[in-house]
Symmetry: none
Subunit: 222 residues, 4 copies
DNA sequence: TATGAATGAGGATTCATTCAT
DNA sequence: TATGAATGAATCCTCATTCAT
């Protein structure tokens, strides 16, 4: 009954996965456009070109589908972050930010869906996106040799995340006010400022190395 | 809804206003707790202790009531901002931020309602809160003698607004990580950084005076 | 808002009660005809000539309406039992049985609804009817000066209840095999047999007086 | 469903029968627990550990499966009755009753399923159980040399069946109020009473021999 | 024989809204 | 001004059933 085999997927299974993916995509599309309750399962099924019952077959409930869609979007974003890399820490952080905005601009649908999940709707959806944000910040801390457990520092970094999100929204609204590379540089400065501030609030925080790395004129000691 | 009446209110009018206010308060309370569609008019009427039909009598529709509640909340926040004042520009900006967080912490219900309206729900609700944010930023620009029409500057300032909102959310979640006065100082530094960044992106921007005023060591020239 | 007043019902209230009663009657009618799940709320609303939402307004849920209908039916049956009376205990028991069958034959709809609730559906529905049965048996015990707490006796009396219910069903199916008065006499004999049997099983049970009363040749000592 | 096969069953046939039997057992189990509509085919398939489509393959429809399960249960009960035997008629009736209660107590699941089918659900299900009851009564009539066509007698005997069913229910609820053998004796007395009553209502009925046989002090004349 | 993907009708329930009183 | 009875559209979800594999 179960066939935990590895690859030899039958045609039907492949077909099924394709269908599920189509439903998921339709859901992401629609949930991005309007708030949770304004999207009906019937609309999703119609958009996916399947019977009204199918989404339930695959995702159990509307909420399940919503969460799956969010999860999917979050994973894609996380993948985009993960793909960014560079030789120097400063360049890697820059690459991560660039990848972030690239993704958001190129997938405005997912972007809005994720950002909308931000405060509204249910905590679970928020948690899904929040994990990605935390991973992002944790990696930045790692690159800059900062203590990712310091609460004041994290407070400031999450505040900066708010700035990043707001910037994303603005870019989606009016794409040509500021170019992506320029915005990335700007946020790098804001990041430095956030770190400096955190250091003044929490005297035990070691930030000089991080700031040097951010300036780009520090020897690697990773 | 409007109360432009002058003096001689009949008792019924007073009574009516009281009732309407009760409905509005109940609505604000409930809309803060869960998203728009999860709040029923029946629940609002119950909370307000009136018949199900009454909210319609006063506010026409659910949407009307929602917008009225948002409007009310936004006005209260704007009033809190307006009440902040000080001799020096730097101190006034500081006072404004302090008043902002004070309000948010003291009225978490309204705070969340406003913030939730952020991306979700409908554009009208977003617009209501956005106006308050713009007014806030415009006043800051005025105090610091910055050009409130410069698009790059505004982009950065709005990004900073994102940081402020995110900070608010964090304070409501865990109130004791950072004290309000300390947070205000931190955001003042972020503000300076945002302005500096804007200046590097837009060479025509005059920011030296603003930065001096922010440092506190500039002669008033308002 | 609440008007706990006694009688001065407004016309609207009377109208509302009438409507609710119409819904209840329609529900009883339909629930008698087929099992719970085979009756749709839409069908009930249609039968009652009201909007689909109204039954929910009054009874909250399908289950609520079902239970209310059962409760109503049970109360009517209990009233029918209560109305029966006579000078001698034997005649009163006879009158109760006669009233029981009279009611069932005259209201076959309610009868089947109650009997159907018997084993099927949910325990709550069963409990509703069971209470009436217990009251019936308790009164019989009172009349015959039997101990209504004796478990073996009650076991036998409830078994007799099964015989009564089965007889009811048979009468509804084929009304003319046995006349009501004749059936009542027959069951009186069965009752005597049940009591005698209980006495042989539980030596502590005092039944001679009860049997004498049932024979009709005992001096009243109530 | 039918297994009229003779000898050489292939392995696949055996396998198929096993699977069908597993489905049937799962169905009986679930239908006993809750009413017809509350049991889904999916639940049955899951319980049987097979695909959702398989029950349809074997039983055509939900109703078909339900009826097959009832049929199966009824046949098992009939078999239990059939297995009871004794030298004297009185003892054989006693053995039949004992076998009945034994079966019911040992297979409460089937018992409730059968009893539930009683009034509720559909007439077909009722008919299935009713046939067993009629067979039971017919055999009793045969043993006691009673006329199984006499309508009044049958009326009373079916009423007694109601008492038996009710007793079964009580035993399942509270097993230790009355022991099975004791209950059997009690019902034998009730049976005698029912026969006597039938004789008073239908003067043409010959019951003296039956009553003598029931007493146990009559010469066999089968 | 057996699977499980896919269908689509049907049903309970909610809720904004209206309106007679 | 205030009530709450009544409406009916909309929505989520369940489930028997089919069928390609």
């Amino acid at each position: 009954m179960t066939r935990s085999a590895e690859q030899p997927r039958t045609r039907r299974q492949v077909q099924a996965e394709t269908t599920a993916a189509r439903v998921l995509a339709a859901a992401a599309e629609l949930f991005a456009g309007r708030p949770y309750d304004a999207v009906s399962m019937a609309a999703i099924a119609d958009a996916a070109g399947c019977a009204h019952g199918l989404p339930f077959h695959y995702f159990g409930s509307k909420r399940g589908l919503y969460l799956a869609a969010m999860d999917n979007a979050a994973r894609e974003l996380a993948d985009a972050h993960a793909a960014a890399g560079a030789a120097a820490p400063r360049d890697e952080v820059r690459a991560m930010l660039a990848a972030h905005f690239d993704f958001m601009v190129r997938r405005p649908t997912l972007a809005v869906a994720l950002l909308r999940g931000g405060i509204g709707a249910d905590p679970d959806a928020w948690a899904i996106f929040d994990i990605v944000r935390r991973q992002f910040l944790a990696r930045v801390c790692g690159l800059l040799q900062l203590d990712a457990e310091a609460s004041v520092l994290m407070f400031m970094l999450r505040a900066l995340s708010g700035a990043i999100d707001e910037s994303t929204l603005q870019m989606l609204e009016a794409p040509h006010v500021v170019a992506v590379e320029v915005l990335v540089d700007a946020l790098l400065h804001m990041l430095a400022a956030a770190i400096e501030v955190a250091a003044t609030l929490d005297r035990g925080l070691a930030v000089t190395r991080a700031l040097a790395l951010l300036e780009g004129n520090a020897k690697e000691t990773r």
